[in-house]
Assembly symmetry: C2
C-alpha cells in the first residue's frame, strides 16, 4: 500500500568515513577485528564516543563466536555505553541491513551519526564449523536435514543457468579471472593475485559445475562505515558520498519454491534503490554485487538491469564486447566476494567501503575512471532470500 | 548531538492487533508457534499478504533452532514473499527491538503496516542447551569462560540490592507471589496459579539469594503485533492503542564494569520514551517490566521512576502502603516474565500484547481499572545490556 500522508524527508544520508580490518585468516577475535576497522575509520576524526549516537552490527556471531548482543559489545569496544546498539542478522546480507538502518536513522532525523559495522570471525569455527554455520541459512525443516551446503544449492542455480543460456563453464571461470585481476590491484583483498582461466577450470570440483575458484572463500574480517548528515560530515571535514537510495526485499528460503534464474528479490531491491535515487540501471558506473559464486554475478547483472536476460555472464567482457542492451557498468572493481573476500556479516559494508573509495578518488590503481554512481547489492541465503540494495553517488552528482 | 534540521513527524503508530501462541513446553516448532500467534492477530483481518509490508522478528533462533534469516522464513510462513524481512537480536530484548523497528517504519512513513513478531523455541535445546544459549549473552572473553550463568549473574545484583536497601528475601518472594496471583487470572500464562510466600522462600536455591520461584521459567512461545497508521487501523476496524514513545539504550555487557543497582540503560530508555510521549513516570498506570528474576522488578521500578531509590521492592504492596514517592502504578498485570512466561525473543511482544489488552478493555478478570497509559520495559543480557522502553496509551489519551 502506498503511503499517502504528507512526509518531509530529511537531507540524504552521507557516508563520511570507512575502515576495514585485514581480511582472510587472522589471529584476532571479532571484537579486535572491529577495533582495527574502527581505528581506520576514525583515524582523522574525533573519538567515536564524541560522534556516534547509535550502533548497528551485522554478524552471525551467535554461531561463530557464541556471542549475542554484539551491538552492545562493539559499542562498548568503541567507548560508547548508553547508546542504542543492536545486532541485525540476515546471513550474508547483515552488513547491508546494518547500513540500511544507519541510513534510515539519519534520513529520518533520529540521529546525526550512526555507525554501521559488520564482523565475522569465520575461521574460529574451522571449515566444517563454517559449513554448519552457513547451513543455518537453509530451511531447517526442508533443506538442512537433507544435508545441502551452500555450494550444492548454488550449483543448482548454475546448472540451470548454463542450461537456459549460452553461458559455458569457461564464461563463469572468466568472471573469477576478472575479479582476481581486480583484487590484484586492491591492497585490502584476501587474494590479491591474478589467476588464469585454466587454473579456474582445472581447480577442484566442489559441486558441479562449480569448482574451487568459482567459490568465494571463508575468511575473517570487519568493516565500519560512518553514516552522518551532510552538515556533520562537512564539520568533520570528511570526503562525502551520498546514499541516494536504499531498497530491501526477500525471496523464499527454500530454493525448491523459486524460479532459480529469476533473482526477483534482487530486482526489487535494486529497483527500489534506483527509484529513491532517481536513476536508472544505465546510470550506474560501478557495482559491487554479491558474487558468492561466479554464477551469482551473471544472475545479478541481469536482475538489477545491467544485462538482458541470458547475457549476464558477459560481465567480464569489455563493455564494447558485451551483447546489445548491456550497460557500461564495471562489476566488482574490489575483486568481489570471490577475491576481495567474503566475511559474511562484514561483506555488505566492504562493498560500501569500495564504493566510497571509488567515488572519493581513493581507489588507487583500481580506480574506475569517471565513476560517479555505484550500486551495492548484498544478499543472504541462497541468492535473494534476503537482499539489500543501495545507490551511492558522489557528493556532486544529483 | 541534537538534530536541528526541521523534521515533520508522521502520525503516531498504532498497535492494531495482537496474537500469541500457547506458552510453556509445546510440541510445535518455532514457525508453527508463530503461525498460531499470527492466526490470532489476523483472525478478524484480511490475509496478512494483503496488509503487511515488512516483517521484523526478534529471536535467538540461531542457537535454539539452528535457523538464521528467520525474518524471511516467517514472512514466507505468513504468505509474504518479496517484502523487507529481517531478524533482530538483542537477547531477551529482541522482541521490543522488533516492535521498535515497526514503530519507526510507520512513524517515518516507510510503511503503513509492519508486523513485529517474536519467537523462541527454548525447550528444543533442553535445560543445559538453554543455559548455554543464554550464556552467549555474557562477554565471551571475560565472563563466559568463567562459567557464569544467568541466575549467578543476577544473584550478584540481588545480593547487592539486599545489602544496600531494607529489602529482604521475603520481599523478593512477595514479588513472585504478586505476579503469580496476576497470572492466575491470565489465560495466556505459562503458570496460571497462585503460590504462597512460604512456597517461594522454601523453593530450591538456584544462586543465593535467588530460589527457583525467584526465576522466570524457560519456555516456548511466539507473539505477533501489527503496527499500522491510525487510518489503516480505522479502515480495518481494529481497537487501537497508540505507541506514544519509544526509547532504547544499553549498558556494558560485563557486570564487572557496572554499578550493579543503578540500571542506567533502563532509566535512559524509559526517560526517552516518556519524553517522546510527553508524560512523566507518574502518569503510567500499568507497566510490564522485565522481571527475569524477582529482584529485577525492584530495580526496574526505581530505574524507570516509579519508586524512590531503595524502595522498588515494594512493588507487590498496594499503592497506599508503599513508601512516599512511589507512584500508583500496577506492575506486571500479566504475571510478568515470572509467571506469564519468558520465551526470550517473544517476551517484548508479549508485554505489548498485555498492554494492548489492558488498554482496549480486553484483559478480562485481570483488568486494571482505569488504565490509560502503559510502560513496557524489555531487556537483554544481565539487566540493561540492551534495553528498550515503549509508552502505550489508549487511543483517547493525549
Amino acid at each position: 500500500m502506498a503511503v499517502d500522508t504528507a512526509y518531509v524527508r530529511m537531507p540524504e544520508p552521507i557516508i563520511a568515513s570507512v575502515g576495514a580490518s585485514p581480511l582472510g585468516r587472522t589471529d584476532l577475535p571479532g571484537r579486535d577485528l572491529f577495533s582495527v576497522a574502527l581505528a581506520e575509520a576514525f583515524d582523522e576524526l574525533p573519538d567515536p564516543a564524541d560522534v556516534v549516537e547509535a550502533v548497528y552490527v551485522g554478524s552471525q556471531s551467535e554461531s561463530y563466536e557464541h556471542q549475542i548482543m554484539y551491538g552492545t559489545l562493539l559499542a562498548e569496544w568503541a567507548g560508547l555505553r548508553h547508546v542504542p546498539a543492536e545486532r541485525v542478522e540476515g546471513c550474508a546480507a547483515a552488513g547491508a541491513l546494518a547500513l540500511r538502518h544507519a541510513v534510515k536513522d539519519v534520513r529520518n532525523g533520529e540521529h546525526e551519526a550512526v555507525l554501521a559495522c559488520g564482523v565475522e570471525k569465520m575461521t574460529s569455527a574451522g571449515t566444517s564449523g563454517a559449513t554448519d554455520a552457513l547451513s543455518a541459512a537453509f530451511d531447517r525443516a526442508i533443506e538442512q536435514r537433507s544435508g545441502v551446503t551452500a555450494p550444492s544449492q548454488y550449483a543448482l542455480l548454475a546448472q540451470r543457468y548454463l542450461h537456459e543460456t549460452d553461458a559455458t563453464e569457461r564464461d563463469l571461470a572468466e568472471i573469477a579471472v576478472k575479479n582476481h585481476a581486480n583484487a590484484a590491484r586492491n591492497p585490502r583483498a584476501q587474494f590479491p593475485k591474478e589467476v588464469d582461466v585454466e587454473t579456474v577450470l582445472e581447480s577442484n570440483p566442489v559441486a558441479s559445475p562449480l569448482k574451487l575458484y568459482d567459490c568465494a572463500p571463508v575468511g575473517d574480517g570487519a568493516a565500519a562505515v560512518l553514516v552522518t548528515t551532510a552538515e556533520l560530515a562537512a564539520d568533520l571535514d570528511c570526503p562525502q558520498v551520498r546514499v541516494a537510495g536504499s531498497g530491501a526485499s526477500a525471496n523464499n528460503i527454500a530454493v525448491a519454491e523459486r524460479d532459480m534464474t529469476d533473482i526477483a528479490g534482487a530486482r526489487i531491491a535494486a529497483e527500489t534503490a534506483y527509484e529513491e535515487a532517481g536513476i536508472d540501471a544505465a546510470d550506474v558506473d560501478i557495482a559491487e554485487v554479491h558474487d558468492a559464486f561466479t554464477v551469482c554475478e551473471a544472475l545479478l547483472a541481469e536482475a538489477v538491469g545491467f544485462a538482458p536476460t541470458g547475457t549476464g555472464y558477459q560481465s567480464y567482457l569489455d563493455p564494447a564486447d558485451r551483447a546489445d542492451g548491456w550497460t557500461d557498468v564495471q562489476l566488482s572493481p574490489s575483486g568481489g566476494l570471490k577475491a576481495r573476500g567474503h566475511p559474511i556479516g562484514a561483506t555488505g559494508l566492504l562493498q560500501a567501503l569500495e564504493a566510497y573509495e571509488q567515488l572519493t578518488g581513493a581507489a588507487g590503481d583500481r580506480a574506475v575512471e569517471g565513476a560517479e554512481t555505484a550500486l551495492l547489492l548484498n544478499e543472504g541465503g541462497v541468492a535473494d532470500a534476503v537482499t539489500v540494495g543501495h545507490v551511492l553517488t558522489t557528493a556532486e552528482a544529483q
